[in-house]
């Protein structure tokens, strides 16, 4: 077996961030060790952030560090072998969710996830990435290539959701526009009505000028570590937004989709995108600030807590927006401890939730999050990321948390006071 493609990809990823993290930057002090949820759940020294990063760091050192080039055994440096690459599969895709909690707890600011992301890229290049992630990324690309085939089926589905919307809002004027040019917002959902119907209710109630995207927001190319596929998937939405001449792209409650489009895509495409990029949480926060929507928090009287998605919060900067929305729509909002920047990963991030053969490991790694949820005494857990939602739903079943897991928009709709003509039949739902 050869590791040539992986080595080439590793070299491509050797930028300032990776170079710094791979140099003699890490003092091996161990401060990061217990910041990792995977380590917290298992106490296995092999899965600590520094131990995982060392696998990649030592390979980089072999070709970039002066001492390691001459005396590799002195620094533990080694060449990339097929056997080593096999070990990377689990450490990069199973034992690390790229949550960055280790970064904010490192006294030196070592970007461990950059090394793990480089490992993912190398594995993807060598054809060793989990098959399901590759398939999901390829499916997303083929959806654009065969857009006409999908379109009729998609429109049929949307018509069904639109009927539910009209019934909920009590007016046939409530619509889900698709492919509408010149509107303010292009809203990009995930596949499934749960990220379309609540948002459609919110947009209609706020009187927003919007249209629904033909594509789903998720980007499995990012999870895979395949930058070519990731760019290709992001490009579908960028092209659609340009074609429809929208002013902004609003992404659904999906952590990585937001971080990808808001922060990473402008890097990939060499500059700011020709439209504003926001998350639906920010839009909801704006509607509340501008009094465009009215809520009755008494309709959400059960204790509610919020799980910060790593991508939205620590990597994306959306820390206060969801909290302002929650205070407006729920009566009893309780924080988890720790939260915001120090929030624990749910254990299912960065594509892990899609990989069935590692579900047991994923549930085990979610134990610290389950304990954190239980400690709040909350009956409802809100999370603005579908990956987290899936994982926390499974944690609920496995650890008997007795909670309901929902999204911010769904909870908001529950407390929404519809404008008078629209509320005629909404009480029936």
């Amino acid at each position: 077996m050869t590791t040539e493609l992986a080595e080439k990809e590793l070299e491509k990823k050797y930028n300032k961030l990776v170079g710094t993290a791979a140099s003699n930057m890490c003092a091996h002090c161990g401060w990061c060790i217990d910041s990792c949820h995977v380590y917290q759940a298992s106490h296995d020294p092999e899965v600590s952030p520094v131990a995982k990063a060392e696998h990649v760091r030592r390979v980089y050192k072999k070709s970039h560090d002066w001492m390691s080039k001459i005396f590799p055994s002195w620094t533990g440096a080694r060449k990339l072998t097929d056997e080593e690459l096999e070990k990377w599969v689990k450490l990069a895709y199973r034992d690390c969710t790229l949550c960055e909690r280790c970064v904010v707890n490192c006294p030196m600011g070592v970007e461990t996830p950059q090394l793990i992301a480089a490992a993912r890229a190398a594995l993807a290049a060598q054809g060793k990435a989990p098959e399901i992630l590759t398939q999901l990324a390829d499916m997303a690309i083929s959806r654009e290539e065969n857009a006409e085939l999908y379109k009729d089926f998609f429109l049929e589905q949307i018509k069904e959701i639109e009927k539910q919307l009209q019934s909920y809002m009590g007016t046939p004027e409530a619509t889900i526009p698709v492919d509408k040019e010149g509107v303010r917002i292009l809203y990009v959902p995930l596949s499934g009505a749960h990220t379309i119907l609540p948002e459609a209710i919110i947009f209609n109630a706020a009187g927003e000028s919007w249209t629904l995207s033909m594509f789903e927001a998720s980007n499995y190319g990012v999870f895979l570590g395949d930058s070519v596929k990731a760019k290709r998937i992001a490009e579908r939405i960028i092209n659609e937004a340009k074609r429809l001449k929208v002013k902004e792209v609003v992404l659904t409650e999906c952590g990585h989709a937001y971080t990808t489009m808001r922060w990473e895509a402008p890097k990939w495409f060499g500059g700011p995108l020709p439209f504003r990029v926001r998350n639906i949480i920010e839009v909801l926060d704006e509607y509340i600030r501008d009094n465009r929507l009215k809520f009755d928090p008494a309709k959400n009287s059960e204790p509610v807590t919020y799980h910060d998605s790593c991508n939205l919060g620590r990597k994306g900067g959306l820390l206060e927006e969801p909290r302002r929305v929650l205070r407006a729509i729920a009566q009893d909002f309780r924080e988890m401890t720790p939260n915001r920047l120090q929030s624990l990963c749910c254990g299912g991030g960065s594509g892990l939730v899609a990989i069935a053969e590692w579900s047991e490991d994923r549930i085990k790694a979610g134990k610290p999050k389950a304990d954190q949820i239980r400690a709040t005494g909350a009956k409802v857990v809100v999370t603005s990321c579908d990956n987290c939602r899936h994982q926390i739903t499974e944690l609920n079943e496995h650890y008997n948390l007795g909670i309901k897991v929902t999204s911010l928009c769904e909870l908001a709709v529950q407390a929404l006071v519809l404008p008078q003509p629209m509320s005629a039949t909404s009480d029936n739902h």
Partner: protein, 219 residues
């Protein structure tokens, strides 16, 4: 034991040669690092990159800001004492030969008292590296050697400060010079990379409004 000429050479010429070597190699390293590509944040910003970088540089002075130091305050005290001791020992390599006038007995004692806890915590760190499986797993010969050699450096610094005779002073400066020759190749260089890492990581978090947090996007 050592001739006056050799003592003088160890304190002055050798130090200058060793320091020049260190500087030269760091310049090369920094040049190599600066030539690497950097994917800059070029999405419209939410916060301030400068505030983020400053926050990143200062986080070590705010133990409450990181869970890793908040939960393990001992670690932070150990970290602080160790690095203060290291700083004083390095400062002494300049003040002793180049500003002997300020190195009065009380100052020498004060320096020694500040280096002593670093020496003690260095032993604790070494013991931890050997006994704790999660730390042993990530340790390399370079880690053990770096810790052990810094311990020798601290010890000779304390002896040179307290006894202050030509023998200990010469040993101390010979160790210092050997150290300066070795450091660019060792993990002890982490302090140089820290300035880059704190800048890169801090400015990214700052730009994105993560740290320091930005309450609302103004666009």
């Amino acid at each position: 034991m050592f001739s006056d000429g050799f003592v003088h050479f160890a304190e002055y010429e050798l130090q200058i040669i060793a320091l020049s070597w260190l500087c030269l190699l760091y310049i090369v390293k920094i040049f190599q690092l600066s030539r690497l590509p950097m994917l800059r944040e070029n999405a419209p910003r939410k916060g301030s990159a400068i505030a983020g970088a400053l926050r990143s540089y200062s986080s070590m002075f705010m133990p409450w800001s990181m869970e890793s130091s908040r939960k393990h305050l001992y670690r932070w005290v150990e970290f602080g004492a160790y690095h203060v001791g290291a700083g004083i020992a390095i400062l002494n390599t300049f003040t002793s030969p180049f500003a002997p006038g300020i190195m009065t007995e009380p100052v020498r004692w004060a320096f020694a008292i500040l280096i002593a806890p670093a020496f003690f915590f260095g032993l604790v760190k070494l013991a931890r590296r050997i006994t704790r499986p999660e730390i042993r797993l990530i340790s390399t010969p370079d880690d053990y050697f770096a810790l052990a050699s810094v311990e020798v450096y601290f010890f000779t610094a304390i002896m040179a400060l307290l006894i202050n005779n030509p023998l200990w002073r010469t040993i101390y400066f010979l160790i210092t010079a050997a150290f300066l020759f070795y450091v660019p190749f060792s993990k002890i260089s982490h302090y140089v990379y820290f300035f880059f890492a704190a800048l890169f990581t801090g400015s990214r978090y700052g730009w994105r409004g993560v740290r320091p947090p930005v309450r609302r996007q103004t666009e």
